[in-house]
Symmetry: C2
Subunit: 313 residues, 2 copies
Protein backbone atom coordinates (compact mmCIF):
# COMPACT_ATOMS: atom_id res chain seq x y z
CA UNK A 1 0.00 0.00 0.00
CA UNK A 2 1.55 3.31 -1.10
CA UNK A 3 1.33 6.43 1.07
CA UNK A 4 2.69 9.90 0.49
CA UNK A 5 5.50 10.90 2.85
CA UNK A 6 5.98 14.63 3.32
CA UNK A 7 8.85 16.32 5.16
CA UNK A 8 8.28 19.94 6.12
CA UNK A 9 11.43 21.72 7.21
CA UNK A 10 12.27 25.37 7.74
CA UNK A 11 13.68 25.79 4.21
CA UNK A 12 12.38 22.87 2.12
CA UNK A 13 9.16 20.93 1.62
CA UNK A 14 9.83 17.43 0.23
CA UNK A 15 7.50 14.60 -0.74
CA UNK A 16 7.70 11.10 -2.23
CA UNK A 17 5.55 8.00 -2.47
CA UNK A 18 6.58 5.33 0.06
CA UNK A 19 5.88 1.63 -0.12
CA UNK A 20 7.45 -1.09 2.06
CA UNK A 21 9.71 1.36 3.90
CA UNK A 22 11.28 2.76 0.75
CA UNK A 23 10.76 5.47 -1.85
CA UNK A 24 9.02 4.28 -5.02
CA UNK A 25 9.13 7.69 -6.74
CA UNK A 26 11.61 10.53 -7.01
CA UNK A 27 11.43 13.23 -4.36
CA UNK A 28 9.54 16.37 -5.35
CA UNK A 29 10.82 19.40 -3.55
CA UNK A 30 10.01 23.10 -3.24
CA UNK A 31 11.07 25.94 -0.95
CA UNK A 32 8.96 26.13 2.23
CA UNK A 33 6.50 28.97 1.64
CA UNK A 34 5.93 31.59 4.29
CA UNK A 35 2.89 31.27 6.59
CA UNK A 36 0.51 28.38 7.39
CA UNK A 37 -1.98 29.01 4.54
CA UNK A 38 0.70 28.88 1.87
CA UNK A 39 2.30 25.79 3.43
CA UNK A 40 -1.05 23.97 3.37
CA UNK A 41 -1.56 25.06 -0.25
CA UNK A 42 1.90 23.75 -1.21
CA UNK A 43 1.20 20.40 0.52
CA UNK A 44 -2.11 20.07 -1.38
CA UNK A 45 -0.38 20.93 -4.67
CA UNK A 46 2.25 18.24 -4.13
CA UNK A 47 -0.45 15.73 -3.21
CA UNK A 48 -2.42 16.53 -6.38
CA UNK A 49 0.69 16.04 -8.50
CA UNK A 50 1.43 12.60 -7.04
CA UNK A 51 -2.23 11.55 -7.19
CA UNK A 52 -2.19 11.94 -10.96
CA UNK A 53 0.09 8.91 -11.21
CA UNK A 54 -0.41 7.00 -7.94
CA UNK A 55 -3.27 5.62 -5.90
CA UNK A 56 -2.46 6.79 -2.39
CA UNK A 57 -4.03 5.32 0.75
CA UNK A 58 -2.79 7.93 3.21
CA UNK A 59 -0.54 10.90 3.90
CA UNK A 60 2.21 11.09 6.52
CA UNK A 61 3.60 14.49 7.39
CA UNK A 62 6.85 15.04 9.29
CA UNK A 63 7.08 18.61 10.53
CA UNK A 64 9.43 20.69 12.63
CA UNK A 65 7.86 21.63 15.98
CA UNK A 66 6.00 19.75 18.72
CA UNK A 67 2.98 17.81 17.45
CA UNK A 68 -0.04 16.65 19.46
CA UNK A 69 -0.16 13.39 17.57
CA UNK A 70 -3.66 12.26 18.54
CA UNK A 71 -5.19 15.33 16.89
CA UNK A 72 -2.40 16.09 14.40
CA UNK A 73 -2.06 19.65 15.60
CA UNK A 74 1.22 21.57 15.79
CA UNK A 75 1.32 22.78 19.41
CA UNK A 76 4.88 24.08 19.60
CA UNK A 77 6.70 25.53 16.67
CA UNK A 78 10.29 26.34 15.89
CA UNK A 79 11.47 29.78 14.85
CA UNK A 80 11.95 28.29 11.36
CA UNK A 81 8.19 28.05 10.74
CA UNK A 82 6.66 31.32 11.97
CA UNK A 83 2.91 31.13 12.55
CA UNK A 84 2.83 27.34 12.22
CA UNK A 85 2.00 26.77 15.92
CA UNK A 86 -1.69 26.10 16.45
CA UNK A 87 -2.29 24.79 12.93
CA UNK A 88 -4.64 21.73 12.97
CA UNK A 89 -2.77 20.33 9.98
CA UNK A 90 -4.21 16.81 10.14
CA UNK A 91 -7.81 18.01 10.16
CA UNK A 92 -7.20 20.43 7.29
CA UNK A 93 -5.52 17.89 5.00
CA UNK A 94 -8.00 15.11 5.85
CA UNK A 95 -10.94 17.35 4.99
CA UNK A 96 -9.45 18.43 1.69
CA UNK A 97 -8.31 14.97 0.57
CA UNK A 98 -10.58 12.47 2.35
CA UNK A 99 -7.41 10.45 3.06
CA UNK A 100 -6.12 9.36 6.50
CA UNK A 101 -3.34 11.71 7.64
CA UNK A 102 -0.70 11.27 10.34
CA UNK A 103 1.35 14.26 11.53
CA UNK A 104 4.54 13.72 13.51
CA UNK A 105 7.49 15.73 14.77
CA UNK A 106 10.27 15.38 12.18
CA UNK A 107 12.89 13.90 14.53
CA UNK A 108 10.33 11.33 15.67
CA UNK A 109 9.30 10.50 12.11
CA UNK A 110 12.93 10.11 11.15
CA UNK A 111 13.49 7.76 14.09
CA UNK A 112 10.51 5.63 13.10
CA UNK A 113 11.78 5.52 9.51
CA UNK A 114 15.21 4.27 10.60
CA UNK A 115 13.58 1.73 12.90
CA UNK A 116 11.27 0.25 10.28
CA UNK A 117 13.71 0.36 7.35
CA UNK A 118 16.79 -1.13 9.05
CA UNK A 119 17.81 -4.36 10.76
CA UNK A 120 17.10 -2.63 14.10
CA UNK A 121 13.40 -3.49 13.97
CA UNK A 122 13.62 -6.15 16.70
CA UNK A 123 15.56 -3.94 19.12
CA UNK A 124 14.03 -2.79 22.41
CA UNK A 125 15.36 0.75 22.63
CA UNK A 126 16.68 2.91 19.83
CA UNK A 127 17.68 6.58 19.89
CA UNK A 128 17.90 8.47 16.59
CA UNK A 129 19.79 11.76 16.72
CA UNK A 130 19.31 14.25 13.88
CA UNK A 131 22.41 16.43 13.62
CA UNK A 132 21.40 19.37 11.45
CA UNK A 133 21.35 23.11 12.01
CA UNK A 134 19.99 22.08 15.44
CA UNK A 135 19.66 18.69 17.15
CA UNK A 136 16.49 16.60 17.29
CA UNK A 137 16.00 13.23 18.95
CA UNK A 138 13.49 10.44 18.43
CA UNK A 139 13.18 7.60 20.93
CA UNK A 140 11.76 4.17 20.08
CA UNK A 141 10.85 1.88 22.97
CA UNK A 142 9.48 -1.59 22.40
CA UNK A 143 8.53 -0.87 18.80
CA UNK A 144 6.76 2.42 19.45
CA UNK A 145 7.71 6.08 19.43
CA UNK A 146 8.04 7.40 22.97
CA UNK A 147 6.48 10.88 22.97
CA UNK A 148 6.42 11.77 26.68
CA UNK A 149 3.53 13.07 28.75
CA UNK A 150 3.02 16.30 26.78
CA UNK A 151 4.29 15.23 23.31
CA UNK A 152 7.69 16.81 23.93
CA UNK A 153 9.97 13.83 24.70
CA UNK A 154 13.19 13.91 22.70
CA UNK A 155 13.59 17.71 22.94
CA UNK A 156 17.14 16.72 23.79
CA UNK A 157 18.65 19.51 21.73
CA UNK A 158 17.97 21.48 24.90
CA UNK A 159 19.58 19.26 27.49
CA UNK A 160 22.24 21.32 29.24
CA UNK A 161 25.76 19.98 28.81
CA UNK A 162 27.60 22.63 30.79
CA UNK A 163 27.04 24.73 33.89
CA UNK A 164 29.13 27.66 32.70
CA UNK A 165 26.28 29.55 30.98
CA UNK A 166 28.68 30.41 28.22
CA UNK A 167 26.82 29.87 24.94
CA UNK A 168 23.28 31.08 24.29
CA UNK A 169 20.97 28.74 22.37
CA UNK A 170 18.33 29.96 19.89
CA UNK A 171 15.69 28.81 22.45
CA UNK A 172 16.87 31.44 24.92
CA UNK A 173 18.50 28.95 27.33
CA UNK A 174 22.26 28.63 27.90
CA UNK A 175 24.56 25.75 27.04
CA UNK A 176 21.97 23.54 25.34
CA UNK A 177 23.40 20.49 23.56
CA UNK A 178 22.44 21.88 20.15
CA UNK A 179 24.33 25.14 20.80
CA UNK A 180 27.49 22.96 20.69
CA UNK A 181 26.83 19.63 18.93
CA UNK A 182 24.84 20.83 15.87
CA UNK A 183 26.05 22.39 12.63
CA UNK A 184 25.47 25.79 14.17
CA UNK A 185 27.50 24.60 17.18
CA UNK A 186 30.49 23.54 15.10
CA UNK A 187 30.48 26.89 13.33
CA UNK A 188 30.33 28.79 16.65
CA UNK A 189 33.24 26.72 17.97
CA UNK A 190 35.20 27.47 14.78
CA UNK A 191 34.53 31.19 15.07
CA UNK A 192 35.52 31.20 18.76
CA UNK A 193 38.79 29.46 17.91
CA UNK A 194 39.80 31.81 15.07
CA UNK A 195 39.04 34.94 17.09
CA UNK A 196 42.34 36.73 17.57
CA UNK A 197 44.26 34.24 15.42
CA UNK A 198 46.29 35.76 12.57
CA UNK A 199 45.76 34.55 8.99
CA UNK A 200 49.40 33.42 8.83
CA UNK A 201 48.79 31.06 11.76
CA UNK A 202 45.76 29.36 10.20
CA UNK A 203 44.18 29.66 6.78
CA UNK A 204 40.84 29.32 8.53
CA UNK A 205 41.39 32.65 10.28
CA UNK A 206 41.48 34.42 6.90
CA UNK A 207 37.78 33.69 6.51
CA UNK A 208 36.73 35.58 9.63
CA UNK A 209 32.97 36.07 9.71
CA UNK A 210 32.51 34.26 6.40
CA UNK A 211 33.71 30.98 7.98
CA UNK A 212 31.51 27.99 7.06
CA UNK A 213 31.32 24.39 8.26
CA UNK A 214 32.32 23.32 4.75
CA UNK A 215 35.52 25.37 5.12
CA UNK A 216 36.23 23.84 8.53
CA UNK A 217 35.79 20.30 7.20
CA UNK A 218 38.04 21.00 4.19
CA UNK A 219 40.67 22.53 6.47
CA UNK A 220 40.55 19.42 8.70
CA UNK A 221 41.34 17.31 5.66
CA UNK A 222 44.21 19.67 4.74
CA UNK A 223 45.74 19.28 8.19
CA UNK A 224 44.88 22.72 9.63
CA UNK A 225 45.44 22.36 13.39
CA UNK A 226 42.82 24.93 14.37
CA UNK A 227 40.21 23.19 12.22
CA UNK A 228 41.19 19.84 13.72
CA UNK A 229 40.76 21.31 17.19
CA UNK A 230 37.26 22.56 16.30
CA UNK A 231 36.42 19.18 14.78
CA UNK A 232 37.55 17.24 17.88
CA UNK A 233 35.67 19.63 20.15
CA UNK A 234 32.55 19.13 18.01
CA UNK A 235 32.83 15.37 18.59
CA UNK A 236 33.29 15.94 22.33
CA UNK A 237 30.14 18.05 22.26
CA UNK A 238 28.14 15.39 20.38
CA UNK A 239 29.49 12.85 22.90
CA UNK A 240 28.32 14.97 25.87
CA UNK A 241 24.68 14.61 24.84
CA UNK A 242 24.96 10.97 23.81
CA UNK A 243 26.34 9.87 27.18
CA UNK A 244 23.51 11.67 28.99
CA UNK A 245 21.00 9.77 26.89
CA UNK A 246 22.96 6.54 27.32
CA UNK A 247 22.87 6.72 31.12
CA UNK A 248 19.17 7.60 31.07
CA UNK A 249 17.84 5.20 28.43
CA UNK A 250 20.48 2.45 28.12
CA UNK A 251 19.60 1.95 24.41
CA UNK A 252 20.67 -0.84 22.06
CA UNK A 253 21.75 1.66 19.47
CA UNK A 254 22.22 5.31 18.60
CA UNK A 255 21.59 6.13 14.93
CA UNK A 256 22.92 9.46 13.70
CA UNK A 257 21.29 11.24 10.79
CA UNK A 258 20.73 14.78 9.46
CA UNK A 259 22.80 17.06 7.26
CA UNK A 260 25.86 17.08 9.53
CA UNK A 261 26.02 13.30 9.96
CA UNK A 262 28.21 12.85 6.87
CA UNK A 263 31.07 14.62 8.69
CA UNK A 264 31.03 12.43 11.83
CA UNK A 265 34.22 10.46 12.52
CA UNK A 266 32.64 7.33 14.01
CA UNK A 267 35.80 5.72 15.43
CA UNK A 268 36.60 9.00 17.25
CA UNK A 269 33.03 9.42 18.52
CA UNK A 270 32.79 5.80 19.70
CA UNK A 271 36.09 6.14 21.57
CA UNK A 272 34.95 9.33 23.31
CA UNK A 273 31.60 7.82 24.31
CA UNK A 274 33.18 4.62 25.53
CA UNK A 275 35.67 6.61 27.67
CA UNK A 276 32.89 8.63 29.29
CA UNK A 277 30.22 6.02 29.88
CA UNK A 278 29.78 3.30 32.50
CA UNK A 279 31.29 0.17 30.87
CA UNK A 280 28.14 -1.83 31.59
CA UNK A 281 26.22 0.54 29.27
CA UNK A 282 28.91 1.38 26.69
CA UNK A 283 30.10 -2.11 25.88
CA UNK A 284 26.84 -3.34 24.34
CA UNK A 285 25.71 -0.03 22.81
CA UNK A 286 26.09 0.58 19.11
CA UNK A 287 26.61 3.97 17.41
CA UNK A 288 26.02 4.03 13.67
CA UNK A 289 24.95 6.14 10.71
CA UNK A 290 21.50 6.25 9.20
CA UNK A 291 20.26 4.01 6.38
CA UNK A 292 17.70 6.52 5.05
CA UNK A 293 19.56 9.82 5.33
CA UNK A 294 17.41 12.82 4.40
CA UNK A 295 14.51 10.53 3.42
CA UNK A 296 14.00 9.29 7.01
CA UNK A 297 11.24 11.77 7.85
CA UNK A 298 9.22 10.96 4.70
CA UNK A 299 9.57 7.20 5.18
CA UNK A 300 8.76 7.35 8.90
CA UNK A 301 5.72 9.61 8.46
CA UNK A 302 4.36 7.38 5.69
CA UNK A 303 4.93 4.23 7.77
CA UNK A 304 3.10 5.83 10.69
CA UNK A 305 -0.01 6.57 8.63
CA UNK A 306 0.15 3.04 7.16
CA UNK A 307 0.38 1.61 10.70
CA UNK A 308 -2.72 3.55 11.67
CA UNK A 309 -4.61 2.36 8.58
CA UNK A 310 -3.63 -1.24 9.44
CA UNK A 311 -4.72 -0.79 13.09
CA UNK A 312 -8.09 0.67 12.03
CA UNK A 313 -8.74 -2.11 9.49
Amino acid sequence: MPALGIDLGGTKLSAAVICDQRLVTDVKQRPTPSGPDKIVEAILDLLAEFKQEHVLVGVGIATAGIVKVDTGEVIGSTGNLPGWEGTPIRKIIERKTMLPVHVENDANASAYGEFTASDLKGKYCLVVVTLGTGIGVGIIIDGKLFRGSHWAAGECGHIKISMENRRLCTCGLFDCWEAYGSGRGLLTTGKELIAGVKPEQSKLAELGDSLTNQAIIEAVENGDLLAQKAFTMWHEHICAGLINLAHTLDPDCFVLTGGMEQFVDYPLLRELVSDRCLPRIAEKMEIRGSVLGKNGGMVGAAELVLDRIAADA
Copy 2:
Protein backbone atom coordinates in the same frame (compact mmCIF):
# COMPACT_ATOMS: atom_id res chain seq x y z
CA MET B 1 -2.14 -10.83 49.79
CA PRO B 2 0.90 -10.01 51.96
CA ALA B 3 4.46 -10.15 50.61
CA LEU B 4 7.74 -9.44 52.32
CA GLY B 5 9.51 -6.33 51.05
CA ILE B 6 13.27 -6.25 51.58
CA ASP B 7 15.58 -3.30 50.96
CA LEU B 8 19.28 -4.11 50.75
CA GLY B 9 21.49 -1.04 50.95
CA GLY B 10 25.19 -0.59 51.48
CA THR B 11 24.81 -0.11 55.24
CA LYS B 12 21.36 -1.44 56.23
CA LEU B 13 19.14 -4.40 55.43
CA SER B 14 15.46 -3.62 56.08
CA ALA B 15 12.31 -5.70 55.76
CA ALA B 16 8.57 -5.39 56.41
CA VAL B 17 5.36 -7.11 55.37
CA ILE B 18 3.53 -5.19 52.65
CA CYS B 19 -0.14 -5.41 51.80
CA ASP B 20 -2.10 -3.02 49.53
CA GLN B 21 0.90 -0.75 48.93
CA ARG B 22 1.58 -0.16 52.62
CA LEU B 23 3.47 -1.62 55.55
CA VAL B 24 1.38 -3.86 57.80
CA THR B 25 4.23 -4.58 60.23
CA ASP B 26 7.09 -2.65 61.77
CA VAL B 27 10.35 -2.56 59.84
CA LYS B 28 12.99 -5.02 61.03
CA GLN B 29 16.47 -3.78 60.36
CA ARG B 30 20.05 -4.97 60.72
CA PRO B 31 23.43 -3.81 59.48
CA THR B 32 24.28 -5.16 56.01
CA PRO B 33 26.68 -8.05 56.59
CA SER B 34 29.84 -8.32 54.55
CA GLY B 35 29.90 -10.70 51.57
CA PRO B 36 27.17 -12.43 49.54
CA ASP B 37 26.87 -15.55 51.72
CA LYS B 38 26.25 -13.56 54.88
CA ILE B 39 23.79 -11.25 53.10
CA VAL B 40 21.78 -14.25 51.89
CA GLU B 41 21.86 -15.70 55.41
CA ALA B 42 20.58 -12.43 56.88
CA ILE B 43 17.76 -12.25 54.32
CA LEU B 44 16.72 -15.83 55.18
CA ASP B 45 16.83 -15.05 58.92
CA LEU B 46 14.56 -12.01 58.45
CA LEU B 47 12.20 -14.07 56.33
CA ALA B 48 12.02 -16.80 58.99
CA GLU B 49 11.23 -14.21 61.65
CA PHE B 50 8.33 -12.72 59.66
CA LYS B 51 7.02 -16.15 58.66
CA GLN B 52 6.43 -17.03 62.30
CA GLU B 53 3.61 -14.48 62.42
CA HIS B 54 2.57 -13.95 58.78
CA VAL B 55 1.53 -16.07 55.83
CA LEU B 56 3.64 -14.63 52.99
CA VAL B 57 2.91 -15.26 49.30
CA GLY B 58 6.15 -13.82 47.90
CA VAL B 59 9.33 -11.90 48.51
CA GLY B 60 10.40 -8.66 46.80
CA ILE B 61 14.02 -7.60 47.12
CA ALA B 62 15.26 -4.10 46.29
CA THR B 63 19.03 -4.06 46.01
CA ALA B 64 21.74 -1.59 45.10
CA GLY B 65 23.37 -2.46 41.76
CA ILE B 66 22.14 -3.37 38.29
CA VAL B 67 19.72 -6.31 38.27
CA LYS B 68 18.91 -8.60 35.35
CA VAL B 69 15.28 -8.72 36.33
CA ASP B 70 14.18 -11.73 34.27
CA THR B 71 16.61 -13.99 36.15
CA GLY B 72 16.91 -11.95 39.34
CA GLU B 73 20.67 -11.82 39.12
CA VAL B 74 22.81 -8.89 40.23
CA ILE B 75 24.92 -8.13 37.14
CA GLY B 76 26.45 -4.81 38.15
CA SER B 77 27.24 -3.93 41.72
CA THR B 78 28.11 -0.75 43.55
CA GLY B 79 31.23 -0.32 45.63
CA ASN B 80 28.94 -0.46 48.69
CA LEU B 81 28.28 -4.19 48.26
CA PRO B 82 31.62 -5.83 47.46
CA GLY B 83 31.34 -9.29 45.90
CA TRP B 84 27.58 -8.93 45.32
CA GLU B 85 27.91 -8.80 41.51
CA GLY B 86 27.13 -12.15 39.91
CA THR B 87 24.92 -13.36 42.77
CA PRO B 88 21.81 -15.20 41.43
CA ILE B 89 19.83 -13.91 44.37
CA ARG B 90 16.38 -14.81 43.08
CA LYS B 91 17.27 -18.42 42.41
CA ILE B 92 18.92 -18.80 45.83
CA ILE B 93 16.01 -17.39 47.82
CA GLU B 94 13.37 -19.21 45.74
CA ARG B 95 15.09 -22.55 46.34
CA LYS B 96 15.39 -22.00 50.05
CA THR B 97 11.86 -20.70 50.61
CA MET B 98 9.74 -22.15 47.79
CA LEU B 99 8.20 -18.65 47.44
CA PRO B 100 8.12 -16.46 44.29
CA VAL B 101 10.88 -13.84 44.48
CA HIS B 102 11.34 -10.61 42.51
CA VAL B 103 14.68 -8.77 42.59
CA GLU B 104 14.89 -5.17 41.42
CA ASN B 105 17.37 -2.30 41.44
CA ASP B 106 16.59 -0.19 44.51
CA ALA B 107 15.93 3.08 42.64
CA ASN B 108 13.56 1.22 40.32
CA ALA B 109 11.78 -0.48 43.21
CA SER B 110 11.41 2.86 44.96
CA ALA B 111 9.95 4.38 41.78
CA TYR B 112 7.43 1.58 41.47
CA GLY B 113 6.51 1.98 45.14
CA GLU B 114 5.83 5.70 44.70
CA PHE B 115 3.84 5.00 41.55
CA THR B 116 1.58 2.37 43.08
CA ALA B 117 1.12 4.03 46.48
CA SER B 118 0.34 7.59 45.32
CA ASP B 119 -2.25 9.38 43.26
CA LEU B 120 0.20 9.25 40.32
CA LYS B 121 -0.94 5.77 39.31
CA GLY B 122 -2.77 6.96 36.20
CA LYS B 123 0.11 9.11 34.92
CA TYR B 124 1.94 8.21 31.69
CA CYS B 125 5.50 9.07 32.63
CA LEU B 126 6.96 9.42 36.10
CA VAL B 127 10.59 9.90 37.13
CA VAL B 128 11.58 9.11 40.72
CA VAL B 129 14.93 10.51 41.85
CA THR B 130 16.56 9.07 44.96
CA LEU B 131 18.83 11.70 46.50
CA GLY B 132 21.03 9.85 48.97
CA THR B 133 24.78 9.42 49.26
CA GLY B 134 24.56 9.03 45.47
CA ILE B 135 21.71 9.57 42.99
CA GLY B 136 19.49 6.83 41.59
CA VAL B 137 16.64 7.19 39.11
CA GLY B 138 13.64 5.02 38.33
CA ILE B 139 11.51 5.67 35.25
CA ILE B 140 7.88 4.57 34.90
CA ILE B 141 6.36 4.66 31.41
CA ASP B 142 2.76 3.66 30.83
CA GLY B 143 2.46 1.82 34.12
CA LYS B 144 5.67 -0.16 33.82
CA LEU B 145 9.27 0.26 34.91
CA PHE B 146 11.48 1.20 31.98
CA ARG B 147 14.72 -0.76 32.38
CA GLY B 148 16.51 -0.08 29.07
CA SER B 149 18.09 -2.58 26.70
CA HIS B 150 20.65 -3.94 29.16
CA TRP B 151 18.83 -3.38 32.49
CA ALA B 152 20.76 -0.16 33.13
CA ALA B 153 18.25 2.61 32.31
CA GLY B 154 18.08 5.23 35.02
CA GLU B 155 21.81 5.16 35.80
CA CYS B 156 21.34 8.91 35.66
CA GLY B 157 23.60 9.52 38.63
CA HIS B 158 26.26 9.33 35.92
CA ILE B 159 24.90 11.79 33.39
CA LYS B 160 27.54 14.47 32.89
CA ILE B 161 26.38 17.93 33.90
CA SER B 162 29.58 19.83 33.10
CA MET B 163 32.35 19.73 30.52
CA GLU B 164 35.02 21.06 32.87
CA ASN B 165 36.18 17.66 34.18
CA ARG B 166 36.47 19.23 37.59
CA ARG B 167 34.99 16.77 40.06
CA LEU B 168 35.74 13.05 40.05
CA CYS B 169 32.83 10.69 40.73
CA THR B 170 33.18 7.40 42.66
CA CYS B 171 32.54 5.61 39.34
CA GLY B 172 35.80 6.97 37.89
CA LEU B 173 34.12 9.42 35.48
CA PHE B 174 34.23 13.20 35.84
CA ASP B 175 31.39 15.61 36.58
CA CYS B 176 28.64 13.01 37.00
CA TRP B 177 25.35 14.38 38.33
CA GLU B 178 25.76 12.51 41.62
CA ALA B 179 29.20 14.05 42.22
CA TYR B 180 27.30 17.34 42.64
CA GLY B 181 23.60 16.75 43.37
CA SER B 182 23.81 13.97 46.00
CA GLY B 183 24.59 14.18 49.71
CA ARG B 184 28.22 13.54 48.89
CA GLY B 185 28.00 16.33 46.31
CA LEU B 186 26.65 18.89 48.79
CA LEU B 187 29.44 18.01 51.23
CA THR B 188 32.10 18.36 48.51
CA THR B 189 30.66 21.76 47.54
CA GLY B 190 30.69 22.82 51.18
CA LYS B 191 34.32 21.74 51.60
CA GLU B 192 35.34 23.54 48.40
CA LEU B 193 33.69 26.73 49.63
CA ILE B 194 35.31 26.73 53.09
CA ALA B 195 38.78 26.03 51.70
CA GLY B 196 40.88 29.07 52.53
CA VAL B 197 38.06 30.79 54.44
CA LYS B 198 38.94 31.87 57.98
CA PRO B 199 36.82 30.71 60.95
CA GLU B 200 35.96 34.35 61.77
CA GLN B 201 34.39 34.75 58.31
CA SER B 202 32.13 31.70 58.60
CA LYS B 203 31.44 29.34 61.50
CA LEU B 204 31.32 26.57 58.94
CA ALA B 205 35.00 27.06 58.18
CA GLU B 206 35.87 26.13 61.78
CA LEU B 207 34.78 22.58 61.06
CA GLY B 208 37.31 22.02 58.27
CA ASP B 209 37.56 18.36 57.37
CA SER B 210 34.91 17.40 59.92
CA LEU B 211 32.24 19.34 58.02
CA THR B 212 28.97 17.41 57.62
CA ASN B 213 25.80 17.99 55.63
CA GLN B 214 23.95 18.31 58.93
CA ALA B 215 26.26 21.19 59.87
CA ILE B 216 25.69 22.85 56.47
CA ILE B 217 21.91 22.59 56.82
CA GLU B 218 22.00 23.98 60.37
CA ALA B 219 24.23 26.85 59.27
CA VAL B 220 21.79 27.65 56.43
CA GLU B 221 19.05 27.98 59.02
CA ASN B 222 21.30 30.21 61.13
CA GLY B 223 21.93 32.56 58.22
CA ASP B 224 25.52 31.59 57.42
CA LEU B 225 26.20 33.05 53.96
CA LEU B 226 28.71 30.41 52.94
CA ALA B 227 26.30 27.63 53.90
CA GLN B 228 23.52 29.37 51.97
CA LYS B 229 25.80 29.54 48.93
CA ALA B 230 26.51 25.80 49.18
CA PHE B 231 22.80 25.11 49.62
CA THR B 232 21.81 27.16 46.55
CA MET B 233 24.56 25.55 44.48
CA TRP B 234 23.30 22.13 45.57
CA HIS B 235 19.85 23.04 44.24
CA GLU B 236 21.39 24.24 40.97
CA HIS B 237 23.18 20.91 40.72
CA ILE B 238 19.99 18.92 41.36
CA CYS B 239 18.29 21.12 38.77
CA ALA B 240 20.99 20.40 36.15
CA GLY B 241 20.12 16.71 36.10
CA LEU B 242 16.36 17.23 36.33
CA ILE B 243 16.26 19.48 33.26
CA ASN B 244 18.25 16.93 31.24
CA LEU B 245 15.70 14.28 32.15
CA ALA B 246 12.82 16.70 31.50
CA HIS B 247 13.97 17.45 27.93
CA THR B 248 14.53 13.75 27.24
CA LEU B 249 11.45 12.18 28.84
CA ASP B 250 8.91 15.03 29.18
CA PRO B 251 7.43 13.42 32.32
CA ASP B 252 4.23 14.27 34.16
CA CYS B 253 6.05 14.40 37.44
CA PHE B 254 9.38 14.14 39.23
CA VAL B 255 9.17 12.59 42.69
CA LEU B 256 12.17 13.14 44.95
CA THR B 257 13.02 10.67 47.67
CA GLY B 258 16.06 9.35 49.58
CA GLY B 259 17.84 10.54 52.70
CA MET B 260 18.66 14.01 51.36
CA GLU B 261 15.13 14.76 50.15
CA GLN B 262 14.08 16.22 53.50
CA PHE B 263 16.45 19.17 52.92
CA VAL B 264 15.14 20.13 49.46
CA ASP B 265 13.67 23.63 49.17
CA TYR B 266 10.91 22.88 46.67
CA PRO B 267 9.95 26.46 45.76
CA LEU B 268 13.63 27.21 44.99
CA LEU B 269 14.10 24.00 42.99
CA ARG B 270 10.89 24.54 41.00
CA GLU B 271 11.94 28.08 40.16
CA LEU B 272 15.38 26.96 38.96
CA VAL B 273 13.94 24.16 36.82
CA SER B 274 11.28 26.38 35.35
CA ASP B 275 13.93 29.02 34.43
CA ARG B 276 16.09 26.45 32.64
CA CYS B 277 13.52 24.34 30.83
CA LEU B 278 11.53 24.88 27.63
CA PRO B 279 8.20 26.39 28.82
CA ARG B 280 6.22 23.74 26.90
CA ILE B 281 7.78 21.07 29.13
CA ALA B 282 8.13 22.96 32.42
CA GLU B 283 4.65 24.39 32.67
CA LYS B 284 2.83 21.07 33.04
CA MET B 285 5.54 19.19 34.93
CA GLU B 286 5.21 18.63 38.65
CA ILE B 287 8.09 18.28 41.15
CA ARG B 288 7.13 16.85 44.51
CA GLY B 289 8.33 14.86 47.50
CA SER B 290 7.84 11.17 48.08
CA VAL B 291 4.85 9.63 49.91
CA LEU B 292 6.73 6.53 51.08
CA GLY B 293 10.13 7.94 52.04
CA LYS B 294 12.63 5.27 53.05
CA ASN B 295 9.96 2.54 52.72
CA GLY B 296 9.66 3.04 48.93
CA GLY B 297 12.07 0.23 48.01
CA MET B 298 10.34 -2.30 50.24
CA VAL B 299 6.85 -1.37 49.03
CA GLY B 300 7.88 -1.32 45.35
CA ALA B 301 9.74 -4.64 45.52
CA ALA B 302 6.77 -6.29 47.26
CA GLU B 303 4.31 -4.84 44.73
CA LEU B 304 6.47 -6.15 41.88
CA VAL B 305 6.40 -9.73 43.20
CA LEU B 306 2.64 -9.43 43.82
CA ASP B 307 2.20 -8.21 40.22
CA ARG B 308 4.08 -11.25 38.97
CA ILE B 309 2.00 -13.60 41.09
CA ALA B 310 -1.18 -11.97 39.71
CA ALA B 311 0.12 -12.24 36.12
CA ASP B 312 1.00 -15.93 36.58
CA ALA B 313 -2.36 -16.78 38.17
